[in-house]
Symmetry: C2
Subunit: 323 residues, 2 copies
């Protein structure tokens, strides 16, 4: 069994690559819910939905959120009111939020609803929210104003300087059922190429997670979301610098080194592999950019191969970059 710590788009693509090379039933995605928000009374779980839609082949590839071909009639009508409309919710996408919210008001946990939504979409990978308790990523901006994650990420388009990040509610949150067990029992724990600060950070803030990972550090493999000094998408590069680190593969290694034994970095960063190793993290150089499903499968083979997993007849095929 493979456990994967997941943020949004990068994690979704890597899970898609993984399920192409190993039995999807053996994959458990543990998903960040620090981005979750309540809007118009609806419980919205952006990372869970991005993964669900991506694995179902219906994600909008250009936006990174929502469903391909969705319409925005409800949003358009909402503009009549003094309501938040900078967070766009497509009409078909709304169904997911409506279902989730309805079930949670009935008393279902986020884990239970996530399993139901996964089943409805026919997912074969198992998705677990990191916690059923509310954990909310909050960012203190330069000038001392604190904002919720979606306000930073969507409304302000993350073009502001962040002084500090906290995960409100994390100290009293419990890992969702199955999370710690999966992290303990997995043959390998993979850290998807997600934002280490605001996508992986919330998962680590859930009590119990870090200590389990630290205890099995040698079989925790991360993929660097920083390639050639820049994040492939989102503000990971700037956040790392703003919080006192470096926007580089070695910077990621140092950020994660307490509980990550191996870091897969992109070929573009081959020259800094030694610097990663100097941080006490084993370094693997490979193509990491997932522009196509084949490239995602290639990355999955690299990641699982370094963990010594048997990938079966085709799973061990040599990685052909760009194939």
């Amino acid at each position: 069994m493979i456990a994967v710590l997941c943020g949004g788009v990068g994690a979704a693509r890597m899970l898609a690559g993984m399920q192409a090379v190993v039995d999807p039933g053996a994959i458990i995605g543990i998903v960040n819910t620090g981005d979750d928000t309540e809007l118009h009374g609806l419980h919205i779980s952006p990372d869970l939905d991005t993964i669900t839609y991506t694995l179902s082949g219906v994600a909008n590839p250009t936006t990174g959120w929502g469903l391909t071909g969705d319409t925005f009639r409800a949003m358009q009508a909402l503009e009549r009111f003094d309501a938040v409309t900078w967070f766009r919710l497509g009409d078909a996408d709304l169904a997911t939020h409506l279902y989730r919210t309805g079930r949670m008001r009935e008393g279902a946990t986020l884990s239970e609803v996530t399993a139901e939504i996964s089943r409805a979409w026919g997912l074969r990978v198992r998705l677990l929210p990191m916690s059923d308790d509310p954990v909310r990523t909050r960012l203190r901006l330069e000038g001392a104003q604190e904002v919720a994650f979606q306000e930073y990420f969507v409304k302000l388009r993350h073009s502001v300087v962040v002084d500090s990040v906290r995960f409100a509610g994390a100290e009293v949150a419990r890992p969702a059922p199955g999370v710690l067990a999966a992290l303990e029992a997995a043959e390998v724990v993979v850290v998807a190429p997600s934002n280490p600060v605001v996508s992986i950070g919330p998962i680590l803030a859930v009590p119990g997670v870090t200590s389990v990972l630290t205890a099995r550090r040698d079989s925790v493999v991360a993929v660097s979301p920083i390639v050639a000094g820049a994040a492939l998408r989102g503000p990971a590069d700037r956040l790392l610098v703003e919080l006192g680190g470096q926007a580089s593969a070695p910077g990621v290694a140092r950020f994660l080194s307490a509980w990550v034994g191996t870091l897969v970095i992109d070929e573009a960063d081959a020259d800094v592999a030694g610097e990663v190793e100097a941080a006490g993290v084993k370094c693997i150089v490979a193509p990491t950019v997932m522009r196509t499903p084949e490239m995602a499968a290639g990355l999955a083979r690299t990641v699982l191969g370094t963990a010594g997993m048997d990938l079966g007849p085709s799973g061990g095929a040599p990685v052909a970059p760009g194939a």
Copy 2:
């Protein structure tokens, strides 16, 4: 000032007729919320919305609910899940429910949100929910099963026999701010041609309403929703019979006689006017079917004229049925 006790479609049409013959700013609609329901976590107020959409000229005239030309992408997507889809929510209509729900989760009362929604639509008539507290109409069916109003009305299409009706929560509900004051101060209280059992009944169940109405019975004017022994729409005729009354204009008179001084009945029922008077209710015979805005305005003139109101230069024009 005119206070109008309102259900859905019939009330919406009568309010539209009224605002054509008197200053809309003088009209206060006190609206049934016993039909309100929570679906997918959203607070839905069907009667308030039907009136708002009708007065805004955007109501779907064929369904009696929702917005004309609306799409159903969210509903279609919801069918993937094990969710209630028999209660249809159009995409643009959803915006109203999203806004209301978001504001109520923020702590706004239903009255406050109703005022905001009215303002957003530019309504000139003032709408008040009968109560800001939850009152829910529940029907005990033959065979002892109890269902919520929308399940009876929409899912079962009211083609079941009802043994009894109750208004859960009514005993502890408080009239919404302004309701009792409007009922006391109004020059005339009008009872719209709405279902007396399940549309007007919940308003009467709110503590304080009946006693105010009884005290001013002589200036309370109702319009019979039963014409020639049948309800123009909905189950009012069957409900009256099932609950021990009669599906006739005199049946309506007897049902309301404790607090209604005058009943306007349709020309089709002219032969039973004496029977209405025998119930102790003054009877006015007039065209009551509102097939066109002109007919609705005509009915409004009749109703307000019988209350001796000065309708201004054009307000007193003779009613031309079918004009």
